[in-house]
Symmetry: C2
Subunit: 451 residues, 2 copies
């Protein structure tokens, strides 16, 4: 028969079993954390009607969409989880309770140019809190707590949650009479990290709509640094000149005030006036999260407050706040940087049962007892040489092997071999599941990411 | 602004939060059970190159595929999880350890005619064990144990795992000189349940290639009933006439022999000679699972043994055995039939914290302590009337509400209200997380499906 070459499309992550286990563990920590903060799981279709999905899209995004015809229908694959959320909330608003808190971890699709570390199919892990008309500022203060807990639970220690408020930025530029040019200026300011203050100063001066004074003011504003208290104090100097600015500053004070009670240590959180977030729909607090030892990765968790989630579908005002982690890329980076904790078990089972008798009934009964006892068990009955069986055990990295020969069966015991230490012990059959369970529990623990 | 009508495509399941929680729980039981039997999670792309995905397809399946062009690429969405597994194993064979045991729970796509209870996007939950050249028969005996545990863990009691062996069928038809016509005959035999024995007898006689004698033999063969021991005994009468039949009978004996040790009660398992499974690639044991009180649903978990998983991609012989649950349809049916256990909690959180003080710090600190203690907590700070807040608590069906007023804060306590009994109790702040945790644990338990 002529063969078709088996291949996986480029830009599509497909993991080997060991890595898949690591990825699942990462995802599980996210889910558990999101649930701890009272978020409901949501699962929307991967395919949507194009006119629904692209109600807002345009430009770059639209070019990347996987869009196609099926019968009479013009369909598209989702490119993020925010648009499907907007559709969901607009469609089901009468059946939801607000604030509506949901998390969604799902695959999204973007036909980007394939390159190392860029994916066309990738997981996003999003949380959002959606209000009905209004949404209290405390929700904006809670988000950094969720980010903090997520990353510390994963095992990360050296990361920084950077916060700003779009009202402060918009208000500041309005003070300078630059309301109309704010987006352009922010796009320039966004380059600060890459090009440095001096070069940025020159660039600002080149803009025809900016006087030298304005350029100086902008530069000195975005260079405000220090502890959060110091930054807030410096910002107070601008109070009274613009209403929107003052409101943003109040919000920033509130967010900063409650972070301690939310459990976020001062040193994991910084007010950073250079952060704007590209998306034009953020209207209040905005967030970025950077790994201190890997600034080159950029933000691993970003988001912010928006006033109108679903304006393309409904007149109902639906303000919200949310964050998103690009999970597939994050996992890829962790792998690349060797940051995954390789000490955690990745075997598909806890014990591999090797029967050494013709009648397999005792081995089957033992495997069944182990499973009843909550021990993940695989029965290996392929007729191979002993060495091949042990090779298999090694390759799947199983922590325990159980030998069950005539001798053991006669004496009602099983020989249990610890594959790490090499120690072997005969244990009464009835006690073995608990014996294994106890040892597995003792060996468990450890975070997904190396500290 | 002109609005786009928010809608979800027909044939695509999208659940409300309560139902989503029920679905997630169902999925979690499957995952946990599969893991207990030593299966690794696998996650392959939703999109594959069309020439890879459709290497084998044809006829009805091919028409249903979501297939499209993106740039120069001819792409298709997966329509099952078996073809991607075949591709995966063929592609990564050098890096996998055999037997390779994997589970995959993922969405697949079929552009079927939309009708009630039929979905175009639906979850399949598959497990497969793949051997390298050979695969021991014990794996075929283990599958019913996994089915049994999966459904009992879900809470189902009245179901039957029906088993047959394709070698017995093929051998039997070969005995009658009908080897070439076996598929046609099996297609007719498959109608037995629907049309009854008498009508089937008439249909068989109409087939030009069947003598009256052969039709009678077929009918009496497929009507063999009784306990498993009785059926096996009746089948022994055919031994010695065809080698393939004898081999199939040996396999069936082996499967039946070990089922007890695997923990499957005799009354949940029946040898049923009418089962053939439509797919032409099964070669040994085949499985169907029916709900005794809902035979109209058909099989909820089916599969079997095959000799050659990936023949379209590789010369390597990869025999395997696997089963699949059509999870979305199964959930839909459970919902329709009112079989989901509505007593299980579906609230997004365990406790809703209602601050009654201007400074929210004590409430935030309390919510943080609850979360530290593993209690899923939501802080409700929207400036609404008390009644609206309690309405919200009712609507999300949260089991506990925590009130924290000036009084409570002064005395270092929190008022905890049990939303089921209406009882309210003042508990020291420091003890409250453990107090909640203990009560939640006591109230937990219960299966996904009503028994």
């Amino acid at each position: 028969m002529e063969k078709v070459k088996a291949r996986t499309l480029s830009g599509f992550m497909e993991l080997l079993p060991r890595q898949q286990e690591q990825f699942e563990r990462l995802k599980a920590v996210l889910e558990e954390t999101y649930r701890l903060y009272g978020f409901s799981p949501l699962d929307t279709p991967v395919i949507e009607a194009s006119e629904v999905l692209l109600a807002k899209a345009g430009g770059e995004t639209e070019k990347q969409i996987y869009r196609f015809q099926k019968g009479d229908s013009d369909l598209s694959l989702r490119f993020d989880l925010t648009v499907p959320l907007a559709k969901y909330v607009a469609l089901h608003q009468g059946e939801l309770s607000f604030p509506f808190r949901r998390y969604q971890i799902g695959k999204v699709y973007r036909g980007e140019r394939a390159q190392r570390g860029r994916f066309r199919e990738f997981y996003q892990a999003d949380i959002d809190v959606i209000g009905d008309g209004k949404l209290d500022i405390i929700n904006e203060a809670e988000i950094p707590a969720i980010i903090y807990r997520t990353f510390t639970q994963l095992g990360l220690e050296r990361f920084l949650i950077r916060i700003n408020n779009r009202k402060i930025l918009n208000g500041f530029y309005a003070m300078l009479g630059l309301a109309d040019h704010a987006p352009e200026v922010m796009r320039l300011v966004d380059k600060l990290d890459k090009i440095g203050a001096e070069k940025l100063g020159l660039l600002l001066c080149e803009e025809p709509y900016l006087s030298q004074d304005a350029a100086d003011e902008i530069l000195s504003f975005i260079l405000i640094k220090g502890s959060n208290a110091q930054v807030l104090e410096r910002l107070e100097e601008y109070r009274g000149r613009n209403e929107v600015f003052d409101q943003g500053l109040d919000e920033l004070h509130t967010v900063a005030k409650y972070l301690g009670s939310f459990g976020v240590p001062e040193d994991h959180f910084a007010i950073d006036l250079t952060i704007a977030r590209g998306l034009d729909y953020y209207t209040g607090t905005v967030y970025e999260t950077t790994l201190l030892d890997h600034p080159e990765i950029g933000s691993v968790c970003s988001g912010g407050r928006y006033d109108n989630l679903a304006e393309y579908y409904t007149d109902k005002q639906l303000p919200g706040v949310g964050i998103s982690i690009g999970l597939t890329r994050f996992f890829y980076v962790l792998q690349e940087q060797g940051l995954l904790n390789e000490d955690l078990p990745t075997a598909p089972c806890d014990v591999l049962v090797l029967p050494m008798t013709e009648d397999l009934s005792p081995a089957v009964a033992f495997a069944t007892a182990c499973r009843e006892g909550g021990v993940r068990t695989q029965l290996y009955t392929e007729p191979k040489k002993f060495k091949a069986k042990m090779n298999y055990a090694d390759r799947i990295a199983v922590p325990y092997v159980a030998f069950l020969g005539e001798d053991e069966v006669l004496n009602g015991v099983v020989s249990l071999k610890d594959m790490v230490t090499g120690d072997q012990e005969k244990v009464p059959l009835a006690d073995a599941p608990a014996w294994l369970k106890a040892r597995l529990a003792a060996g468990a623990g450890g975070k997904v990411i190396r500290g």
